[in-house]
Symmetry: C2
Subunit: 361 residues, 2 copies
């Protein structure tokens, strides 16, 4: 019988309550598919700052090191916003985990689900045009981590600087992720850059073109980041896989997520070359609705499905979860934010949605 170790980092805000539903779903998968998920919970984020004095305590990092995958909730909130940047949950925990485990390949799917077009902030005809984008974002290099970074000079001439930096190797491996993903989807990669201004983007284009030669069945096109933000709004159905550097992927993936109008449904995967990965919902910790039992657990549940697919190689189990989620959405067991304003009184709770997914499995 297959057995896996999972580090569960629920974090702050709605993290713990949606994680509880993902755990229910994993329990159901254990029973149905005869696998075992040994789950160990570790403190992370603001909660870890409060209880252990730092956002990523050593025992959490060690727990992740011995696990087969990390199931991550969400972190941060107003309570920890005034800390020095380096100690804040986002940087101290999330960026450190990405970098420590070399989680360079970040997959962020954004899809407008049939029946939920009305939630999209886009015009009805655009929302109904069949939008299903996968943003493949480089996650461990670029201007996030490039050195040097700092401050120098004095008075009004004091200045700050950050370095955007990409090697051929770094570009090649994320481009390969994008082309591999496109082969399993609709066969198109749109690479987002600013090659009319940035030297990094020119290298990005060069290497992407090289990689494309190995995937003759995948079409490659290039788009400037400024134009990309326009096209995502005007005609998102033109995109299949969008390949982005760290910063541009941060921007484009959030724009794509918002475009669906249903952030509570979007999962993400962050993986390294060994298939180890961290899986987390696209939305944030939403401290404003935490603890009320109204948060949507679907994104967390779909993150667990991505974990099964990409790190634990449990394709059937992953399929089962994804099918159960679609069935749940169709059944109408929905949290409030997915319902039209005049039907919010029929909203299901976080737990009810989790139970329905389990039932559908």
């Amino acid at each position: 019988m297959s057995e896996f170790n999972i580090a569960v980092l629920a974090g702050d805000g709605i993290g713990p309550e949606v994680m509880q539903e993902a755990n229910k779903v994993l329990d159901a998968i254990e029973t149905k598919f005869g696998v075992t998920f040994n789950r160990t919970a570790y403190p992370v984020g603001g909660y870890a700052i409060d209880t252990e004095g730092e956002a990523l305590p050593p025992k959490t990092l060690q727990g992740c090191e011995t696990a087969d995958a990390i199931l991550f909730g969400s972190i941060g909130g107003p309570k920890w916003d005034s800390l020095p940047l380096e100690q804040r949950p986002e940087r101290a925990a999330l960026l450190t985990l990405r970098s420590h485990f070399d989680l360079f390949s970040n997959l962020r799917p954004a899809k407008i689900y049939p029946g939920l077009e009305g939630l999209s902030p886009l015009r009805a005809d655009i929302a109904a045009s069949g939008v299903d984008v996968l943003v493949v974002r480089e996650l461990t290099s670029g201007i996030y981590f490039g050195q040097p970074k700092g401050r120098d000079g004095e008075g009004e001439e004091e200045y700050a600087f950050d370095t955007m930096r990409y090697s051929k190797r770094e570009i090649r491996r994320i481009a390969i992720s994008a082309f591999e993903a496109a082969q399993k989807r609709r066969g198109k990669v749109t690479s987002v850059d600013k090659a009319n201004v940035l030297v990094c983007s020119r290298l990005w284009r060069e290497v992407t073109e090289e990689v494309a030669k190995d995937y003759p069945d995948v079409e490659l096109e290039h788009i400037y980041i400024d134009n990309a933000t326009m096209q995502v709004m005007k005609n998102p159905a033109q995109f299949d896989v969008m390949l982005c550097s760290n910063l541009f992927g941060d921007i484009i993936s959030d724009e794509c997520a918002m475009m669906t109008g249903s952030m509570g449904l979007l999962a993400s995967a962050s993986m390294n070359e060994d298939g180890f990965g961290l899986y987390e919902p696209a939305g944030g910790s939403a401290p404003d609705i935490a603890g009320q039992g109204i948060a949507n657990p679907i994104a967390q549940i779909l993150s667990a499905a991505m974990m099964l697919r990409f790190s634990l190689n449990q394709q059937e189990a992953a399929d089962a979860i994804e099918r159960a989620v679609v069935a749940t959405l169709e059944s109408g067991v929905l949290t409030g934010e997915l319902l039209p304003a005049d039907k919010r009184d029929q909203a299901s709770t976080t737990a009810q949605v989790g139970d329905e997914v389990v039932r559908q499995i």
Copy 2:
């Protein structure tokens, strides 16, 4: 009688034809307000590459130096896309002009005109919520111009690098532009940054907070660039002035332009500390529709109005043009892209729209 020298750089694609209409409008202003605009045309962009061998010939630069303002059309097109980056129209002409004249303050208004909500790619209720944003973009520093920039290393470890760099002085002067603009508008500045990752953004926040102290009547808020691209889509009416660095302003201003759905109506100003400026439409050279007499001249005409307002200090004349444009839009004399698909046969030509604006003056 006031007399001004204007360098007219029509450029490529639709540039020359929309510039012709702006010139008609300036003729009408001369008559009505008793001013003289001495206009001299200079080659720029792809046209200058073809005729003079470079995108910004010395005589064009000299002509701009002796002028009171530059009225710019648009440049670039597929014909010149395969040139080495440094010689291409956008970089060789536009970025050089910005840098040479220190045109650090870039104003890009984006507004959904009453009656034209249907053009917006946003959901009807969002498009009708009263969207009127001014993006104030820093235009001569940041990662566009920061040094060092280049390539190094070998084999797969060969890497490219760009430097994002901002001094307090550079941030302060663009922040002041934003606060001054907000005072004349709805009194709110939203500063866009990535302060959870970039050292430049932290300095940006610090200096922006300092500047805010001198404008107690203006509200300042900060937003991350990833969240900003989401909010522009979800609730654009929340924004008045958006203050951005060069790269983030490039992205946000294009997203805001697209959100209006009427790129052919959007003008922009790029100014230095002496009030000298370059004025250009937000849209590109649109080579696909060039020469057919169907391009919308309004953005070019409104660019001329901004020139009168900001560089030539002719407020009344600027008001007159802007009023005439609103009247023209209301009169229904519109180019095809502003009309619903089934009414395109009633489209007016570029020249007819220009004539109508003149008539309304």
